[in-house]
Amino acid sequence: MSEEKKEKKKIVPRKNPMPAQDPKKRAGNFDEVALGYSEDQVVAEANRCLQCKNEPCRQGCPVEIDIPAFIKLAAERDFAGAIRKNKEKNALPAVCGRVCPQESQCEKVCTLGKKHEPVAIGRIERYIADWELANGLLPRETAPPTGKRVAVVGSGPAGLTCAADLARLGHKVTIFEALHVAGGVLMYGIPEFRLPKRVVQAEIASLEKLGVDIQVNSVVGKFATVDELMEKEGFDAVFIGTGAGLPYFMQIPGENACGVYSANEFLTRTNLMKAYLFPCYDTPIKAGKKVAVLGGGNVAMDSARTALRLGAEESWIVYRRSRAEMPARHEEVEHAEEEGVKFALLTSPTRILHNDDYWVTGMECLRYELGEPDASGRRSPVPIEGSEFVMEVDTVVVAIGQGPNPLVPRTTSGLEVTRKGNIVADRETGATSKPGVYAGGDVVTGAATVILAMGAGKTAAKSIHSYLTGQS
């Protein structure tokens, strides 16, 4: 785009709307909700960008993608150039374009967003990534082999990104994944209708093209410990990206009743095991007629929307605070509401009721109000005395958070962890207390986001490279 043309640029105040499946229809299927821009739409959206010299958007992105540059190339219909530019920093653009909380990252600080709607950076990113997947992967350069071997434990976004960067630097990388497919939460947690599994697998295939060896069905700490990988199997360094996969429960009576699921189980059965295709696929699931999902984050929204698709007549989000405090992405809350998910806010259960056969029949709940702001400035919920009531439900999905799985920390010598069990790793380098061992993603930070996990994987790859090549 020439300078002259830019001067004359007319501001388009609103984002080009994202084509989406009709809410009524989509609440009954597992197909992707957001359909993606057409070529003309993406060019129109890319042309909204002001190409700001100070690049605020770039600082808003945890991996500092050169956003103005890839948007400019997209505006010029040079999609190959755009995706190449994007991939300099981002190993999983088709994933990020779909699930990044853009409104609190790159798009939050976009100049256009001050007065109007920001540029739909994520949607453009998704378009160019899908373009590459549709047109064949572009060849990627890798450095000559260094002869060094790195083990990556866990194949979520942190592990995948770390592996990609290290492979490109010429190291021989093996990923060990506990489940039967790679992808971590991208495969077992985030539902098909938000992130099609073929998209995730296509991005992983591009990693394998780089020479990364992925060993599924390999639980580190069981078939081999981190120490054994280094001492017996000759790995020169290890990256731990095992995520936050341990489900928390409420610790209230009745939680082991039949019909109570952790969100992890509910979503794993559905996404990873494809229970929505039962009996063609063998894994069953039982979503009842009236489902209550406890929590207010992305995981809760995904569970509530999944319940509708599995045939629930009513699907409720039961959340202790008010709507403003819900940590889920705005778009997901909106989508959930459009599809018919209902919200019981300022409400929390005190016990789960069941019949003689142990099947859930309801929840005894308390209503809450927001009290005085606490030290952190957040208004904390206070139960209202005497407000007990019973909510009749037949299924409860607990989505109140996850902690780190203790398997790897417990079996690794000299690895420092926090009181909550998270691995302690240097923010700047990803280095842990054990020489040659690095960590990043949810296992370090607690449940966070895809892009932050990727950022941590990138940081660690850089440090591992220095460690292996003797630069520091």
Partner: protein, 285 residues
């Protein structure tokens, strides 16, 4: 892919597989289990490590056909392969010299009891093995168990072999006869483990049971396998599968294990009609 190197039919609907899995065989210990998935549309199911051969790199599993997956498994032959096979999972049995130990195996439970009995004997224990089955033709591994134990007693529910009676009847006799038992291990159907626990509680004998709750991942990620032990929530796949039998809430466990009864029935019906018809590509054999 994991190859079936050997198949044996131990009894009607009861099979033994030796599966090539060197990495798992190198590490497996008594009391641990594996999770397998036969093919792309398959369910992940847990099976106990009934034996392992570190040299040959094999894991032995013994399974009973109870539903669709185990039936599909039963159809496989030597030389066929299983898509996914992961382990060794769970905490290995705690092996030490307790003194005199009773190892009770009921039905298919004889298989998982075997490596533990063997390890306990090796650790210096006097191991009294008690195995039982509904009827003579369902009994297996009498020879292997005899070798693994100091002394072996056998029973059948219907009296078609050796004697008539439940394993608990034999256990009671052993307790009375020997006077002192330092530890009891019981693996088998839930009602059997429960009955053993009721009995040993009266005599104050510490009892370990291996819980076969429904599982998905087997790594502590889903919470599907949760059980209540001594009033606390435990995950059978990572905290177990062995637990203090006297603390287990068997009533809850029994209810949780039939959550999918309706679907399990449906799966078997559809399986009987062979491949899926909806065109989704599932239901392959």
């Amino acid at each position: 892919m994991y190859k079936i190197l050997k198949k044996e039919v131990l009894a009607p609907a009861l099979h033994l597989f030796e599966i090539g899995a060197p990495r798992i065989a190198a590490k497996a210990l008594a009391g641990q289990f594996v999770i397998l998935r036969i093919h792309e549309e398959g369910e992940r199911i847990p099976l106990t490590v009934a034996d392992f051969d570190r040299q040959e790199g094999t894991i032995t599993c013994v399974f009973q056909e109870v539903g669709k997956t185990t039936r599909q498994l039963g159809v496989l032959k030597e030389g066929d392969s299983i898509m996914d096979f992961v382990g060794p999972l769970g905490v290995p049995s705690h092996i030490e010299n307790y003194g005199r130990v009773a190892c009770v195996g009921g039905g298919v439970g004889v298989a998982p009891v075997h490596p533990v009995a063997r390890a306990l004997k090796k650790a210096g224990n006097e191991v009294i093995g008690i195995i039982g089955a509904r009827t003579k033709e369902l009994l297996f591994w009498e020879d292997k168990m005899r070798a693994a134990c100091t002394e072996l007693r056998v029973t059948t529910d219907d009296g078609s072999y050796v004697r008539k009676g439940f394993v608990t009847d034999v256990l009671k006799e052993v307790i009375e006869e020997k006077g002192r038992i330092d530890l009891c291990l019981a693996i088998g159907p839930l009602p059997m483990m429960r009955a053993v626990c009721d009995l040993t509680k009266k005599y104050g004998i510490r009892t370990v049971v291996s819980l076969n709750s429904i599982m998905v991942d087997g790594t502590g990620m889903c919470g599907c396998c949760r059980v209540t032990v001594n009033g606390e929530m435990k995950f059978a796949c990572v905290d177990g599968p062995e637990f203090d039998g006297h603390g287990v809430d068997f009533a809850e466990m029994a209810r949780r294990s039939v959550i999918y009864r309706e679907q399990e029935r449906q799966a078997v019906e559809v399986y009987g009609e062979s491949a899926c018809r909806c065109g989704c590509g599932g239901g392959r054999q």
